[in-house]
Symmetry: C2
Subunit: 263 residues, 2 copies
């Protein structure tokens, strides 16, 4: 890894790649190791105990690369397992949080829609987040069943059909800000936007995560611009590497070769 | 790893290094990855379920190096977990078995001593092995409490004291063949021999394991003698890498730098 300790990033699937994109932009000199735990997707259907166990194993896999910081690029894992990980491991750990707080400052009508997996939609965590920041605002918690899976499988017909349904619910609700509360959804930002009128803002958490990581890094990698080619990104999946490579390359729009990981 | 798929070798501690030595001699062209699961030593005190879980995690760690064959260089794990590993993973898996069968062909007095950890000594596995091969012979199953630990910690005073006790038991029993039924004990072969009279043979399993591995390898690495320097060995421990490196270097008589592994 070019001699520099990498940053570890994981998700249950390919959604975390949207966070990785933001890290790549904000921190162009950092080596990155990405793991998609696709063998166990979706995390939304696991018990808390299972999530503790899985995320612990994922973190250990990444620690074998001597990572200096861990990004939990998955809302479910951030919600249910980040405390457990912080109690077990000493490196800094950054999770993703639905961008309720930024959404509050953007809304004019006071109506915000949070699109997420059904598990996140009904979580106490999201409820608490809304309770903490959104007093007086109307919040639609929209559990978008099937949407994550349609991205994982590049099933564009299903994606389109589901988006028609969910975005129309957002429109009926009259939201002027949409929070993307699942790391998969930023890949659909364009598709969502084109179904909405002007004046509706769509916010995700990737940029805020990248900024938080940048602030936390005690030993940022410093290499000169001309050595930028030495910066490494490596990709792993606990699922099928061919399938992963195909989907990841399509989503990130450059060629990605994922390797098999055993956790 | 020089482009060649390595062979994975693990033990709960440094004992498996005695098996690795035999592999190194028999298969000089093979890359090797060794893992000592010292965080969880000794395996003799784990339940079968714990052993299944630990050895599965160890195997996954080694599979991340794309190993082509796994050597379970630990008697306890071979005894209690090898069936489980074979049911989970498709690569060839070779275990260590106390060398009862070779001992039978060597004994003249018909009296054989098997030195092992207490857990192996009282295992059904060893009983079955003896029942199968040793009919008519007298077998002493000698559980050598503390001996493995004294090697792990390079506590030579303790080793000496324990060897005095255990070897005198072997002598009183009148064995003319000693089976070393723990992968740590071959490092004490000289110490044991010098406490015995001539005509007592000491057998261990390392050579037989290396021969079995050689027979099983479907794609042996073929490189020319002059490229022998490219052959790689890497060492990991789930325990303290400094301590491991110190003990392993002392036992193998060359410099070893172990890295930290998370399983």
């Amino acid at each position: 890894m070019s001699g520099y300790k990498p940053i570890g990033v994981f998700d249950s699937g390919v959604g975390g790649l949207s966070v990785l994109s933001h890290l790549r932009i904000k921190l162009p000199f950092e080596n990155l190791v990405f793991l998609a735990d696709q063998k166990h997707v979706p995390y939304g259907q696991k018990t808390q105990k299972e999530l503790h166990d899985l995320t612990e194993r994922v973190t250990k896999f990444l620690l074998n690369f001597d990572i200096k910081l861990l990004v939990v690029a998955c809302n479910t894992a951030s919600c249910y397992a980040i405390g457990h990980l912080r109690s077990k491991f000493s490196i800094p750990i950054v999770g993703v949080v639905p961008a309720i707080k930024p959404a509050i400052s953007l809304t004019k009508t006071g109506r915000i829609a949070v699109m997420s997996t059904p598990a996140t939609a009904k979580s106490r965590y999201l409820k608490d987040l809304i309770g903490k920041f959104a007093n007086g605002k109307k919040i639609l918690r929209l559990g978008c069943s099937g949407l994550e899976d349609s991205i994982e499988t590049l099933d564009s017909k299903k994606t389109e059909k589901l988006l028609n349904i969910y975005v129309s619910k957002v429109k009926s609700f009259g939201a002027d800000v949409i929070v993307l509360g699942c790391t998969h959804y930023p890949f659909l930002k364009g598709e969502i936007a084109k179904r909405l009128g002007n004046g509706v803002r769509i916010v995700d958490s990737g940029k805020a995560v990248a900024e938080r990581v940048n602030n936390l890094l005690q030993t940022p990698s410093k290499i000169s611009q001309k050595n930028l080619k030495q910066v490494k990104q490596v990709f792993f999946t606990t699922g099928d590497p061919l399938m992963f490579s195909q989907v990841a390359s399509k989503l990130l729009k450059y060629n990605i070769v994922g390797k098999k990981a055993y956790i």
